[in-house]
């Protein structure tokens, strides 16, 4: 029997009923990886030995009748910018190619404490900077639905891995759409919790005021289970919110009648692919049929979100990536004249083109004479963008948009023009600017058979409403059961 194509909660049920062992499930996933990853290239590192050892441990605990976490023995895969003690964490960068973290990220610790099985680490755009995973310094991950297309990014490995059944679920990170946009391109569920819900301790920092870890899953129930696992306050991340974490599975199986859903006109107009627009309108109709109220609204300031985002995120990145200097860990240049040249040559060799571009833009925006014109102004625009969302949320529970203006594009189609690449994130970036929670889930396919995602955005710390609506949409038949053919 094959287990690799099952959801995490289905596997948890099999384990609880002793109808399958974690070793059998883990072997099934590893065989699947051997079979399809040569085509998809989602994994940077597969830890077969570690995974099987952990699986055996989880089985022993169950056999001995110990009280175990419901997800004990269920496999998971992790984006390669989340630290895993003893397991290489590269950020898909030459800079960290041989870096083996001496500690676990907060979320990794939660995974291990639950007794889950870490299958390996997933490909991404270098340091999470990109929208197609083409900025990986190692190799190109392909979209499982069509191997000539990108999987999206930056968590492209995470989305492709789940879509191709190479793990029941995966963790990614989302700074401007990096969980939701690849979930949209690969036809899986991707959720970015509210900023502060999940500790960023051990997540290699890109833009600290925007980064958030979240799950990529096959269904909404698994997203809720994953949130239960990773959310919570952590003294090691002072920006993590000291709030009680609800049981997110309590949001499932509820009635959405009377829910108020806003449909912003700006995300349904010019530049949105015809099939994407049609699929999102059909989803809106499905919500209405379930008794929700869907109304068109004007969400202000969203056109300013992308320019503000590239200034803020690049400024924070230029500061965060200053730590890569060739001294304490990571790459060091072989040949240099003095200490200053060691820094410069190490960084020149260790970073790829897009990372250098962002460091340059961020350094420029923060440099003397430009700070007020760019960085400070972008932060003021941020206040206005948040205000635009506040206005909508005064009258609505959720906002519905496409996750991206188009479906996946062909490999190489946008690599020459950085600004064209940035425009893929137009629907997701405003959400990070305002720190809000959001989900992306499949709502159909375009004429070429590529998945289309819808995005549901909620109020800060109201993941409940998102999961409630997403689960109802799934149960009403909105989520496709089709799988890519590999």
């Amino acid at each position: 029997m094959s287990y690799y194509d099952k959801t995490a909660h289905a596997l948890a049920d099999l384990l609880a009923k002793k109808e399958a062992s974690s070793v059998e499930i883990t072997k099934s996933c590893l065989e699947r990886i051997d079979m399809v990853d040569p085509k998809v290239n989602a994994y940077i590192t597969v830890d077969a030995e570690g995974a099987l050892a952990q699986a055996a441990k989880a089985d022993e605990a169950r056999t001995a009748g110990e009280a175990v976490h419901p997800l004990a023995g269920v496999p998971i895969a992790v984006k390669d910018n989340i630290c895993t003690k003893g397991l290489a964490t590269t950020c898909a960068s030459r800079m960290l190619e041989h870096f083996v973290p001496p500690y676990d990220a907060f979320v990794t610790r939660r995974i291990r404490e639950a007794g889950m099985v870490i299958l390996g680490k997933l490909n991404m755009d270098e340091f999470a900077m990109g929208s197609s995973t083409e900025n990986s310094s190692f190799f190109q991950t392909k979209n499982p639905w069509n191997l000539d297309y990108v999987p999206g990014g930056s968590s492209g490995g995470s989305a492709a891995c789940v879509a191709a059944d190479m793990a029941p679920l995966a963790l990614g990170s989302d700074t401007g759409g990096s969980i939701r946009q690849p979930a949209h391109y690969c036809g899986v569920v991707g959720m970015k919790p509210t900023y502060g819900r999940v500790s960023r301790y051990g997540l290699v920092a890109f833009a600290s005021s925007l980064d958030q870890i979240g799950p990529l899953t096959k269904d909404v129930r698994d997203a809720a289970l994953a949130l239960n696992l990773i959310c919570g306050h952590d003294p090691m991340d002072s920006s993590s919110a000291p709030l009680e974490v609800p049981d997110f599975t309590a949001s499932l199986g509820q009635d959405v009648a009377g829910m108020r859903i806003a449909l912003p006109r700006a995300f349904m107009g010019e530049g949105i692919q015809r099939e994407v627009k049609e699929a999102v309108l059909a989803a809106a109709a499905r919500f209405e049929a379930m008794g929700a109220v869907v109304e068109e609204v004007d969400l202000t300031m969203t056109d300013m979100a992308l320019p503000a985002y590239y200034l803020i995120s690049s400024a924070e990145a230029s500061s965060n990536l200053a730590r890569f200097d060739g001294i304490k860990y990571g790459h060091r240049a072989k040949s240099y004249d003095n200490l200053l040249d060691l820094y410069k040559q190490t960084r020149e060799e260790g970073f790829g083109t897009e990372v250098k571009r962002r460091i340059m833009l961020g350094t420029y925006a923060l440099s003397s004479g430009y700070y007020d014109a760019y960085y400070k102004k972008a932060q003021q625009v941020r206040t206005l963008i948040k205000g635009g969302f506040d206005e909508i949320f005064a009258a609505y529970d959720l906002i519905l948009t496409p996750t991206g203006p188009t479906t996946a594009f062909k490999l190489g189609a946008k690599t020459a023009d950085p600004v064209a690449m940035y425009l893929n994130d137009i629907c997701t970036v405003p959400v990070n600017i305002a720190g809000l929670p959001a989900i992306s889930m499949n709502c159909g396919f375009d004429d070429l058979g590529l998945p289309i995602g819808l995005q549901l955005v909620g109020k800060a710390f109201d993941e409940h409403s998102i999961l409630k609506a997403a689960d109802a949409y799934e149960k009403a038949g909105g989520l496709s059961l089709d799988k890519p053919r590999l």
């Binding site: 320019p307 503000a308 590239y310 083109t353 420029y364 003021q380």
Partner: protein
């Protein structure tokens, strides 16, 4: 905003990057395009608007000053590109 090659060299020095001649050329073009794109925010009326650095209101977080174990020195040094006598080794800095 016109970006000059000199500007690119100034910023590259601040960012501690040894760009190649070819990269400098490309970076000049790319930065001009990206900053041109970012300049859109100058059309916003931000008079009297307070900047937002962080989306949730966070103040200083205080904790008790408790002694806890540090990470293991040997283990940390395993990732060092160059080490000597339990320290990170760097080129001579002081003459």
């Amino acid at each position: 905003m016109k970006i000059t090659r000199e500007e690119v060299e100034r910023v590259a020095h601040l960012a501690r990057l040894n760009l190649t001649e070819k990269e400098k050329e490309q970076m000049t073009r790319d930065m001009e395009a990206i900053i041109g794109f970012a300049d859109q925010i100058n059309s916003c009326d931000i008079h009297d608007v307070k900047p937002t650095a962080h989306i949730i209101p966070i103040n200083n977080v205080f904790r008790e000053d408790v002694v806890v174990a540090s990470m293991d020195r040997e283990q940390l040094l395993e990732n060092a590109p160059n080490q000597e006598q339990g320290c990170f080794s760097v080129p001579q800095v002081v003459e």
